[in-house]
Symmetry: C2
Subunit: 421 residues, 2 copies
């Protein structure tokens, strides 16, 4: 245990020291290093896949389920994909050094806010080994050192990946200590890590709700967490029904396992009788199970509806299930959303100008839509390039986070001898 703590503190200190150099490297050097990492992932295929095979053998022996095994699996194609993702990050604009704003004060002091890295970013993640290369490349590109703590089940895979990344980064001109991988699998290491605010500037948990809550409750440094997405689409009385069918269908069916998929459909009572059968017909064809309130049940009785329980409101289904509720006004819809939403993505479908504007103004969520599918909530779709995650906090960053969200700023003031009167 003590050895594990020593490992952690030493690596955190080394990361902090390395970051001071990394912070001032040119974009050219950082990009070269990232491309070296991509090359390294391909060149290291044999050892990485060998390590992954051992992890998978243990996982099978321990009775890990098939879906989890698939998340853990690496093969040549997946490795190529990971290398490609690193090259994509290399090709993105460098956020560091951007002058956010600048002006000259009345006393001739020149003052500007300049974008700088946050420092050392700790990340605690589960299962998927691609997080190792993914988060490393995002951190390094934005001038941050990274401390990786992966799941026990992927220890060998992550360790092999981290070794390759570290060596390749160094070969490309980034201090190798800027990438640290925690080998210890002691559970207490996570708790210790969450108290190292002296060295770690930000913690990013990547995993299930349990992990995210553990980190939120125990970290004494800031946390950037991607939370659950409980997404509503409200079909207003003035909705264009064709658009409303296309949008609700896309939001639920196109990829039901992700956070920006539709969880709850709210429909105005004036059009519910016409609209609900139209969307139900399409949804049922796609295998969607509808958990309906009393009025929706009545309208959809020919579509095999399930009676909703209280637990269906505010639930993230991550599957082909949708809650359905009939409301009597936009106010009732917004009230329902205010009660049950998780601050992710919310949509209205309407041709009513004032209703659209009210919804966009009054609903409090990271992303609010008029007449579009909530499935667009995504760093790539929003033009941010790579995505660190989708933040449902309000602080520092909100919604899709790109490289900029891994930075902060400093005030740079240039004078000529000015003193304060």
């Amino acid at each position: 245990m003590e050895a594990a703590m020593d490992e952690l503190t030493q690596k955190a200190q080394a990361a902090k020291a390395a970051q001071r150099k990394l912070a001032h490297l040119s974009t050219e050097v950082k990009n070269r290093a990232l491309n070296c990492i991509a090359d390294g992932l391909i060149a290291g295929e044999t050892e990485i896949l060998e390590a992954n095979r051992k992890d998978l053998d243990d996982a099978r022996a321990a009775g890990m389920d098939q879906a989890m095994q698939d998340r853990l699996l690496l093969d040549a194609d997946r490795l190529k994909g990971m290398a490609g993702d690193v090259r994509t990050v290399a090709a993105l604009p460098d956020p560091v050094g951007e002058v956010i704003d600048a002006r000259v004060l009345p006393n001739s002091l020149r003052i500007e806010r300049r974008r700088v890295p946050l420092g050392v970013i700790g990340t605690i993640f589960e299962s998927r080994p691609n997080v190792t290369s993914d988060i490393s490349s995002l951190c390094l590109k934005s001038g941050n050192a990274v401390i990786l703590r992966g799941g026990k089940e992927a220890l060998r895979s992550n360790s092999a990946l981290a070794k390759v990344i570290k060596q390749a980064a160094e070969a490309g001109g980034i201090p190798g200590d800027a990438v640290q991988f925690i080998e210890s699998t002691e559970r207490m290491v996570v708790n210790e890590m969450l108290e190292l605010s002296e060295y770690i500037d930000l913690i990013i948990p990547r995993g299930g709700e349990k992990l995210v809550n553990l980190v939120r409750d125990n970290a004494n440094m800031p946390v950037l967490a991607s939370g659950a997405g409980i997404c509503h689409t409200y079909v207003d009385r003035m909705a264009d029904l064709d658009k409303a069918v296309a949008i609700a269908y896309n939001a639920k069916v196109q990829r039901p396992t992700v956070c920006n998929a539709l969880d709850c459909l709210l429909v105005h009572s004036e059009i519910a009788g016409r609209y609900l059968p139209l969307i139900a017909k399409e949804w049922v064809k796609a295998g969607v199970e509808m958990h309906c309130d009393k009025r929706a049940m009545e309208i959809l009785k020919d579509f095999n509806p399930v009676a909703a329980t209280d637990a269906d409101w505010g639930k993230e289904f991550l599957s082909l299930v949708a809650a359905v509720k009939v409301v009597d006004s936009i106010d009732e819809a917004m009230e329902h959303i205010a009660t049950y939403n998780s601050g992710h993505s919310e949509a209205i479908v309407t041709e009513d100008y004032t209703a659209a504007l009210r919804f966009l103004e009054e609903v409090d969520a990271a992303c609010v839509y008029a007449n579009a599918s909530t499935r667009f909530t995504d760093g790539g779709q929003f033009g941010l390039g790579a995505e660190v995650g989708i933040c449902t906090q309000k602080f520092h960053a909100r919604g899709p986070m790109g490289l900029k969200e891994l930075t902060t700023y400093k005030w740079v003031i240039m004078g000529d001898g000015q003193v304060r009167p």
Copy 2:
């Protein structure tokens, strides 16, 4: 105790409900309400000063020291000053509604980031009752509800102020529930408050290190804290000595009790023999006590120097004391700063172009200066209008924080039926 918890939860719920309305009020309404609050502070003079007198009587009876009593004291002039500060906030631009950026995506989705309030801001503060009107006006102007928890010693004063503010806000068109004052003085209420992330979006502690640490360690929502300012000024070998004397004098003497005052003077060894006697002569006239390293001791032996101890490096003096150290290079100066600074304000005095640029680039602090006094680190000086505090964290905001730093943004997406392919 249970009653105190009930009070807290009920007030937090009420604040959250009120904030939903406040978030969408026009700038006109908010400004009118703030001016009503200013009027109310003047009109309520008799009851406010009466409440304050009772607090002061108790404080004296309990043996509170004179300086603390002075911080607690309100009189007609101070009340007028508080009202004036509220009017100043009313006159500032409204940050809410600003479109931070906007563009049209290739699929014709129109996407923008719009500045919105954070929500409910909790503040825990000590002693000075002016925080009540100060923080309330900043929160309301930026569309946030506020929950105030002041010190026990100022309970009657704060309560009277909060009552006036609440009534005046309501008279001006802001829901009165947007301002909540916690009457209970149970210590556990603070801990309970730090766990109400369901209702409170941000906690701002205003007080000493002990309070700030308690809040940092226990809050499960984000914290915006003003930390200690341990500020260095490095006089380089190529410094203009006249500027260096003026800057170090101003940084130490102009107002020694504040966080942006000079704590440590670093001087290059090539010019220490000429420069140190010049600044020492001025400092000694002003009553500055110099805690010197060995080489500075030797140079300043005629100026009554004190031998520095290890505790003098990285110490915030908040008084007419300065640590003084001779260094052999800009690298040694920056290394010292990296070891001991608190991320507040750091300055170099030099005519050497490359040295200035290196210092501004490589020193990691909220504010970095070339050839100017660190005393400029201030929201007013930086042109932010009112100041919420000076943040030494890196997350969300850094350095002087104005109204904008009490906001977040949301993504607003306007479509015409778009779905994700």
